[in-house]
């Protein structure tokens, strides 16, 4: 077996004195498509930003992030920025704010190639055109000269993806890449993303709150809640036999699309997602959990090999 593409050990992200990500371990296997599921405050985006070294000012990452035998958190700023946009790339939720409004689309797509591959202007232009064709942007030649605001949301996201795959990265992180898009466009973008990472063997980390998307795209899944990973494993396994009460509750809270519920009521999770720093000690879910007992005030470790769960009372 080849070495994993990325190995995260004990990752913490501190917002001031508050731990927003509270010691997270996970491994991305080479070429795997992993879904990171979480709600607001789960720490899923901060985890991704820590991997990318894009945390906003004042936020501190601790722990270890191993990539090709090197701990990213120990690298110099220069070495990290050399990797960013080249070996590790990211697609954001809102392409309009992630693209430079005053730069032509072609130049933006060419930018990573000129920066990391030192391509000449003409070479980079030609590559940019190929890339726009690969992401199936209509009229790629004309679009090279367009500005981001002249494109639709879906087209902008295609441009973002073209930039992200320009240098054939090892790892691509997509943070809610389709949340801002219409359902029909979302399906196209997801299909595109999946095809590209398959063709290139790129390792994908797909961050989303939408479980259905994860079930469509990802073979592995990580479930985050309150800054911790509470369950992990193969998607089919986790979704059909969830072991953490939170995962089960999430799955049951989604109205099924293919059938009408007999009594018209969904299984609901009591309470609300606590704010940052307001999660209870121990298991972050325990105050909303029906299986809570006294031992839940200590944080359970992730236990199990292929489908580990952090719960004192896992479902069988």
């Amino acid at each position: 077996m080849s070495a994993p593409a990325l190995e995260v050990r004990g990752l913490q992200v501190l917002v001031g004195e508050t731990e927003a990500v509270r010691g997270v371990d996970f491994t991305l296997e080479q070429g795997a498509r992993t879904g990171l599921i979480g709600e607001s405050g789960s720490g899923k985006t901060l985890t991704a930003l820590a991997v990318m070294d894009l945390l906003p000012d004042g936020l501190v990452a601790r722990g270890e992030i191993w990539y090709r035998g090197r701990d990213l958190l120990r690298l110099s700023e220069r070495e990290r920025s050399r990797l960013r946009g080249d070996r590790l790339t990211m697609v954001f939720q809102e392409p309009l704010s992630a693209l430079d409004p005053l730069m032509r689309v072609g130049d933006q797509v060419a930018e990573p190639l000129r920066l990391h591959r030192r391509l000449s202007r003409t070479e980079a232009r030609a590559r940019a055109r190929e890339l726009l064709e690969r992401v199936q942007l209509p009229d790629p030649v004309e679009r090279l000269r367009a500005y981001p605001h002249q494109l639709s949301g879906g087209q902008r996201q295609r441009v973002m993806i073209a930039m992200a795959v320009a240098c054939s990265p090892d790892i691509l992180i997509a943070d809610e890449p389709t949340t801002a898009l219409d359902v029909t466009v979302q399906a196209e973008i997801l299909a595109l993303l999946e095809r590209l990472v398959r063709e290139e063997g790129t390792t994908l980390l797909l961050i989303t709150h939408d479980l259905a998307i994860v079930s469509q795209v990802c073979d592995q899944v990580l479930v985050m809640y309150g800054g911790r990973i509470v369950e992990a494993g193969p998607t089919a396994e986790v979704f059909s036999h969830p072991r953490h009460p939170y995962t089960l509750a999430l799955l049951e809270a989604i109205p099924p699309i293919d059938q009408q519920l007999p009594n018209g009521r969904l299984t609901q999770i009591p309470g609300a997602v606590p704010g940052l720093g307001e999660f209870p000690s121990g298991c972050p879910f325990r105050t909303r959990c029906l299986r809570e007992t006294s031992c839940c005030s200590t944080m359970p470790e992730m236990a199990g090999t292929s489908h580990p769960v952090a719960c004192w009372h896992p479902l069988s």
């Binding site: 359902v183 399906a187 196209e188 259905a212 079930s215 059909s240 699309i257 009408q260 609300a272």
Partner: protein
């Protein structure tokens, strides 16, 4: 009961003029809603689905009576539209005045409409109905979570005892683990008060869950209107087919417990 529907929408078109891009350019118009026909009866629940910009929200604004249609007619057969048609929006933060207490927010429609109600009793009733503690009355919106804020907005909509509840993406801004609470609440309130419901959502599973009938909108037009069940099994319009195919479906679900 009555033969004519509560809402009768006939050939309604609404255009908006875009701001001038240059002194010499002509102002462009967009057609937000185009030749729409709809009926809504008491206790109906109608879902409006479609892409953003399809005209769903504009249609809700027209039903609410905020502005008149440019063409066609909207006839409301109830007694008093301002009291009987109420709306709930997507983002409860934008929907609640941050400078008003929950009590002021919830009772404001009664004051504006000059309804003679025993205010404090009504307030308690409403807070109970949406599952908020009575102590919430004197607090401000920012002290509540997103789900609770949506409950406040729903309580306000219920205050004038409406017959029709319009809901524009009522759970889209909420955490997944909180959505089911609000969906169940809407479901229960609809049954309890016999409300007619018009629900706009981009999430077909939400619409399917709450609505008996679905109207599919595309570029301002209602391209298809069917009973929920038959729309899912036998869609007729190509856009509906595309929409249904595009919905991400959960490929695996935990088997129901206890086992059936």
């Amino acid at each position: 009961m009555s033969s004519s529907p509560l809402f009768e929408v006939r050939g309604v078109t609404k255009r908006y003029r875009l701001p001038r891009t240059s002194v010499f350019a002509r102002r462009r118009e967009i057609v937000a809603v185009s030749r729409v026909d709809l009926d809504l009866n008491d206790s109906d629940s109608l879902g409006l689905v479609g892409d953003s910009g399809a005209g769903k929200s504009t249609l809700l604004r027209l039903l609410l009576g905020l502005e008149p249609p440019d063409e066609g007619s909207i006839r409301y057969q109830g007694e008093w539209r301002r009291r009987e048609v109420q709306i709930v929006f997507q983002d409860p933060t934008r929907a609640l005045d941050p400078r008003m207490t929950v009590a002021e927010i919830v009772l404001e429609p009664l004051r504006v409409l000059r309804l003679r109600e025993p205010m404090s009793t009504r307030l308690s009733e409403l807070l109970d109905a949406v599952g908020l503690p009575r102590a919430a009355a004197d607090r401000y919106p920012h002290e509540f979570s997103g789900g609770q804020r949506q409950r406040i907005a729903i309580a306000r909509a219920l205050a004038p005892r409406p017959r029709v509840l319009l809901a524009d993406e009522p759970v889209s801004a909420l955490d997944v683990s909180v959505r089911a609470q609000i969906l169940n609440l809407l479901h229960d309130l609809r049954d309890l008060y016999g409300l007619a419901l018009v629900l706009v959502s981009h999430d077909l599973s939400v619409v399917r869950h709450l609505c008996d009938r679905i109207a599919v909108m595309h570029r301002g037009e209602v391209v298809e209107q069917q009973q929920t069940q038959s729309l899912f099994t036998a869609p007729t319009h190509p856009y509906t087919v595309r929409l249904l195919e595009a919905i991400p479906r959960l490929r695996w679900r935990p088997s129901p417990r206890p086992s059936e």
